[in-house]
């Protein structure tokens, strides 16, 4: 006769046999799906926390140099096309909406809605990355890629050229890391689209979509800060 679990102490009358349906996605080291859901959600939140520190570090370095070189930073931002940035921001926020709706759908076992929303999220995300690629290509053509290929000279303010290059280092590193996170997200989305179409998700088991959402929304939040900081300094 084994000792009662805490759950059984809190819910007298439930015996082990009553819910002996072993959900196909319940991992053996968890007591039940509820514990598994809480564990995976908590795990993703801890992961997001360390991502906040990761991006936060480079935001901090950006801030230090912005404080040191305000004119160069402004000059650098003028090389960004804010209209393209605005378009991309709308696309990305839109993808956050579709992602949130996908989670909503998964929770309600709405297989088709979930799949469609995940596909839309993927398409919007890929649009974002594609536009970013176009922007990068333009910058490279203008000689703004930092390093030995940096041929741009600011004729109006030549003394700012070095600072503009430093700005571009931050531009490429920050948006590059962001885009990398989006590409990883896209890969994960493809996998989840497959699972959603297969009908894996329902009210008892939707945590994979939820935590995918947490990741995706986090990447969106990074862009919410990147857009004004890189495109809108005047």
């Amino acid at each position: 006769m084994r000792n009662p679990t805490l759950h059984e102490l809190q819910h007298p009358g439930t015996s082990d046999d009553a819910h002996a349906h072993h959900h196909p996605f319940l991992q053996h080291h968890f007591e039940d799906l509820g514990q598994q859901h809480e564990a995976s959600t908590l795990g993703m939140w801890f992961f997001v926390a360390q991502e906040i520190l990761f991006f936060g570090g480079i935001f901090m370095a950006y801030s230090v140099y912005r404080h040191m070189y305000p004119e160069a930073w402004s000059a650098g931002a003028h090389h960004q096309n804010w209209k393209i940035g605005l378009f991309n921001t709308i696309v990305l926020i839109g993808s956050s909406l579709t992602m949130a709706l996908a989670v909503w759908g998964a929770q309600g076992a709405k297989r088709k809605l979930t799949t469609v929303m995940l596909v839309l999220t993927l398409l919007l995300g890929m649009t974002f990355v594609g536009v970013k690629g176009f922007e990068y290509r333009e910058h490279i053509h203008e000689g703004l890629f930092p390093g030995s290929h940096f041929t741009y000279v600011d004729h109006a303010h030549p003394e700012l050229t070095r600072g503009v290059e430093l700005f571009m280092v931050f531009y490429f590193t920050m948006t590059g890391l962001h885009a990398l996170h989006m590409i990883i997200g896209a890969g994960l989305l493809i996998w989840f689209i497959k699972r959603a179409w297969r009908g894996d998700f329902g009210p008892e088991y939707y945590s994979p979509v939820e935590i995918m959402g947490l990741y995706w929304h986090f990447v969106d939040i990074v862009w919410i800060f990147l857009f004004p900081l890189l495109y809108l300094i005047h």
Binding site: T5, E31, G57, M60, S96, E204, E210, F218, P228
Partner: protein
């Protein structure tokens, strides 16, 4: 920093099942759109040295909307709040102590 300990080990039978009304997601979406347009407009108006704080304030409000509603934090357990707030607090520690150096350097290079 103290992570306040959880209440008794919560072993739920089913996942916590709070489903927000659909309309709420669209409301947040339109608020985010509004914030984005506002940010662009504000950046084209010369507010002197207030441009940056205004841009950051709008971004923080947008991020908060995403966190609270898209990421469901508003309905999440206390531990989630602790994690989110602590991360930004830690970032704050990084910024404040870092700038305690940069803002008090007195040589004229910068």
């Amino acid at each position: 920093m103290a992570h306040a300990p959880d209440h008794a080990d919560h072993v739920g039978h089913s996942p916590a099942h709070h489903q927000a009304p659909l309309g709420m997601y669209f409301a947040v979406f339109f608020a985010l759109m509004g914030g984005t347009i506002l940010t662009v407009i504000a950046s084209h108006v010369n507010l002197g040295h207030w441009n940056t704080p205004v841009a950051l304030a709008i971004a923080i409000i947008k991020a908060t909307l995403v966190i609270l509603w898209f990421m469901h934090v508003i309905h999440s357990p206390r531990m989630t709040w602790v994690i989110v707030i602590s991360s930004f607090l830690w970032l704050g520690v990084l910024f404040v102590l870092m700038f305690s150096d940069y803002l008090t350097r007195i040589w004229n290079i910068y």
